[in-house]
């Protein structure tokens, strides 16, 4: 079975079959969109909540930020034959691996989770599964044939979301 790896800031997609995998979600949030009728799946690996503050007027990798990444994920899904109104989302990640290090009052992980939820809700896409926050990294595997998403972490039982 084909397995595509989604790196930080990337967006990748599959139709009918195969697995989309992202490894090493720390404060990043992995997002999957699925249309179960068209069997279209896309996955993103969101790095920061907003593209504001990035230099340059053109953003080379929209998948890096929640505000540009969610529309780009939807566009990708629609391009492969999904219908926007049928899309459902699953999200994982947004952890704070260094909790005693208060770089910001709200951790980047928490900010990423909030931004992803808000941007999905702006597009009326329901979140049907999530495993977010905490202090541990995660790996996310998305089986496009069924829409199942499996989340694993060091020293924990794998869970399905």
């Amino acid at each position: 079975m084909e397995e595509l790896f989604v790196n930080m800031g990337q967006i990748r997609s599959l139709k009918s079959t195969g697995v989309l995998t992202t490894v090493g979600l720390g404060s990043c949030v992995g997002v999957t969109l699925y249309d179960s009728v068209a069997k279209v799946g896309v996955m993103g690996h969101i790095f920061l909540p907003t593209s504001r503050g990035s230099n340059g007027s053109t953003i080379t990798s929209p998948g890096k930020y929640a505000d540009t990444g969610i529309p780009a994920l939807i566009e990708q899904a629609v391009k492969l034959g999904a219908q926007k109104r049928r899309l459902v989302a699953k999200i994982a990640g947004g952890a704070n691996l260094f909790p005693n290090l208060n770089l910001n009052s709200v951790s980047i992980g928490e900010q990423n989770i909030a931004a992803v939820i808000k941007n999905l809700s702006n597009h009326n896409i329901p979140i049907v599964g999530k495993d977010v926050a905490g202090n541990h990294g995660r790996k996310m595997r998305f089986f496009v044939e069924t829409g199942r998403v499996c989340v694993t972490a060091i020293g924990k039982e794998p869970i399905e979301i």
Partner: protein, 197 residues
């Protein structure tokens, strides 16, 4: 001037890591550390993401924010086996697992190494480099590295100064990484009389 800048960054990494491993060596009854050639690169974000290999490997990562005249972030990342070997050496073999005591020993060791690294840069440039309290994580290398980059708010291009080292054969290995904020790099260059960079 691109090459000159990278050469200069490599040299900074070499000096910093030299001091850091000397400090560690003193804590470990003089175990000899060897440095691998320091590497400095300015990478597009996508490549910076891949800069640490073995994304699923378990590592110990110690992370600090640097403020003062020069701001940036530093990380000390080592495979879990190396971390355990260090803990055994630091606690005279009393710790066989990664409990609170071991984590705190590792955190303190990372702190001393990072401080030594920054002190070397400070005395060379006569500038202030002040580290924050260190954070420590034991997790997948990808998750640790990604959190370091996010903490540093890595933009479209990332300057990374990395020096690898090993000791005791290769029973202990790791890397020290410095991510200076771009605008502050110019300050260091100016102090060092390398303004054209």
């Amino acid at each position: 001037m691109y090459d000159a800048k990278l050469d200069f960054l490599r040299e900074l990494g070499n000096i910093g890591t030299g001091h850091a491993t000397t400090a560690l060596s003193q804590m470990l009854q003089g175990k000899l550390f060897q440095l691998v050639v320091p590497d400095a690169r300015m990478l597009p974000f996508e490549e910076a993401a891949d800069f640490i290999g073995g994304l699923e490997q378990v590592v110990a990562g110690i992370f600090v924010a640097v403020s003062g005249d020069v701001s940036g972030h530093m990380a000390f990342i080592l495979p879990i086996d190396s971390a355990m070997t260090l803990v055994r050496l630091l606690t005279s073999g009393q710790n066989e697992e990664l409990d609170e005591m071991a984590l705190s020993a590792l955190q303190e060791m990372g702190n001393i190494m990072i401080t030594s690294y920054l002190n070397a840069l400070a005395s060379m440039t006569d500038m202030v480099f002040a580290p924050s309290v260190p954070g420590i994580a034991i997790d997948m290398a990808g998750a640790v590295w990604q959190s370091v980059l996010a903490g540093a708010q890595a933009a479209d291009e990332v300057t990374i100064i990395r020096t690898d080292f090993y000791a005791d054969g290769s029973a202990i290995e790791g890397h020290i990484i410095f991510l200076p904020d771009e605008e502050d790099f110019v300050k260091i260059a100016r102090v060092m009389g390398l303004e054209d960079m």
